[in-house]
Amino acid sequence: MGLYSSYYTYGLPTFLAVVTALYLLFTGSGEAFNVGQFLEETSPYAWAATGIGLCIGLSVLGAGWGIFITGASILGGGVRAPRIRTKNLIRCVSLQPSAFPTSPCSSIIFCEVVAIYGVIIGIVYSARMSFVSPTLIYTRENYFTGYALFWGGLTVGACNLLCGVSVGIAGSTAALADAADPDLFVKILIVEVFGSIMGLFGLIVGLLMISQASEFTAAVAPAVVSPFVH
């Protein structure tokens, strides 16, 4: 990294934004920057589709990130202690009868569950997207649905991203600790369970956010007074 790389990353976009803003201002077209008009003009489809894309994209990013972090450590630790492979990849073999019953899941499965949450939300959100002609789509309810799908998707995606990364790092430590001492695996798995609950929270909140959003419906044509009625 160069000495002034932070200057480039923060300075250049700021500079461009300031130049564009001043240009608009000084050429008398400052009104062109109109947030309200932008929000009204943008099709709710754009918001909805972007939200669903972000949801599944960020969830898969989080899951993949977590899986590679854990996987690299399982590979390394498994050379000397091959017994850790099954436990960390597929299921944990020992279910302690005394402790509270842990679900038969391993680090990799916890990470992947995060991606599944993203898929579930993607499917649920897609059900809200139905075809409406472009002239009839701009109703208050459709705006709300569009925004709800966007921000809901972003919420779920961000939650799953961070959850996947956290479970992945904990899984990597679990694999190496298991290779050193087999008793440690179940204990560290409990940490991962709490980490993966985060993704579940994201799922719940995402579902709540669109609970009031109806699917896209065409605007009802306003009643026109008949010219024949006096």
Binding site: I69, G76, G77, R80, S172, T173, L176, A179
Partner: protein, 373 residues
């Protein structure tokens, strides 16, 4: 933040090195080894550990130097495996680790060449971890000037020579002073590199390297009592990255006896404990290995001082083992590689000590090694 991307290039090797560390000898295995009656028993016991059958093809009777060489070869094989699988910046880190052995090898070759020894014999006595491609070129040089220029061009240690040693120095100054000058430059460079890596690597490596720097400063001071080394010369050999820098280094430079060395180390709590005499901490005599600072200029004279110096050396080893074990408590950093090599070396020293005691039938001192776990 280092946890996010460390595993991309370093995850597999970190798992490997932790697997190696799990194979280090435990207290139980050391106990079994100390109870062996003969070297053959010793070999059988070792075959049950991670060493396996590394002595299987040796004809009896096996000498302790063979055991030491073969054990070192096991470590070298493991290190080369790590090195061949590493990418930047881990490959650079592992390369820095080899420079310490390279310094020893280069000094060995320079000394041998200036005294007209056989090339092959010199190359055979070099430490395998410090071998670099252009080493035989060093043996070809006939006079000092040529040697200096060869060293500057051919070796990876060129920057350390360039900055601190001149051609005239190679001739006049004692070879040990050159070794310590090079080592000081190497330590400071290594520490700067680790700091540039940032994160937990920088933190842990700085702790370990700072102790190494202080240890060398103390050893240089103690070994220079009663020799012709002037205080200015002595001060120039102290690395600047230790916890005793700068006041402790200045005090050590002015010291004339052990008492003043103890006072110089007062500010650092851990070092104070090294000078407590007669306490149960640390073991009386350890394996010296190839410590280059042990005999700086001439011998130490009084045997009482020799015993005390050996005791101090032992306590240094104990503390070093402690710091290296701590490195394994953190994940996603490179210090585990350095610590593993140091711990393995300590284990090889202990094994050699035990084998020596068995071979010479000195069973009363067989427990005077430093165990790692």
């Amino acid at each position: 933040m280092e946890a996010l991307l460390f595993n991309v290039s370093g995850g597999f090797l970190e798992g490997i090195v932790r697997g190696y560390k799990a194979g280090l000898l435990t207290q139980n295995q050391y106990n079994n080894l100390t109870q062996c009656e003969t070297i053959e028993d010793f070999r059988t016991q070792l075959s049950a550990t991670d060493y396996g059958n590394f002595l299987a093809n040796e004809p009896l009777p096996i000498s302790t130097s063979t055991i030491s060489d073969k054990a070192t070869q096991v470590l070298v094989d493991q290190f080369n495996y790590l090195r061949s699988n590493a990418v930047e910046p881990l490959s650079k880190f592992l390369e820095y680790m080899t420079y310490a052995y390279m310094i020893d090898n280069v000094i060995l070759i320079i000394t041998g060449t200036l005294h007209g020894r056989n090339t092959n014999e010199l190359l055979q006595r070099c430490h395998p971890l410090g071998i670099f491609d252009t080493m035989p070129a060093l043996c070809v040089a006939t006079n000092v000037e040529e040697l200096y220029h060869t060293v500057l061009v051919e070796t990876p240690l060129a920057p350390y020579f360039r900055d601190s040693v001149t051609a005239a120095d190679l001739d006049d100054l004692n070879i040990e002073i050159i070794r310590n000058t090079l080592y000081k430059a190497y330590l400071e460079d290594f520490d700067a590199f680790c700091q540039s890596l940032g994160g937990p690597t920088a933190e842990i490596m700085h702790r370990i390297l700072a102790f190494e720097a202080d240890r060398r400063a103390i050893n240089i001071t103690i070994n220079s009592f009663g020799t012709q080394l002037s205080k200015e010369q002595r001060a120039k050999l102290f690395p600047t990255i230790g916890r005793l820098f700068p006041e402790g280094n200045n005090a050590l430079a002015r010291a004339d006896d052990i008492e003043q060395v103890r006072q110089a180390c007062e500010p650092v709590a851990e070092y104070r404990a090294f000078f407590d005499s007669g306490s149960g901490a640390g073991r009386p005599n350890g394996q010296g290995g190839s410590e280059s600072t042990a005999n700086l200029l001439g011998d130490l004279g009084v045997s009482d001082e020799l015993g005390a110096a050996a005791d101090l050396e032992d306590r240094f080893f104990v503390h070093e083992v402690h710091l290296n074990k701590l490195a394994f408590l953190q994940q996603f950093q490179y210090a585990v590689f350095y610590s593993y090599v140091k711990l393995k070396e300590q284990e090889i020293r202990s094994l050699t000590w035990i084998a020596e005691c068995i071979a010479q039938n000195a069973r009363d001192r067989i427990h005077d090694f430093i165990p790692t776990f």
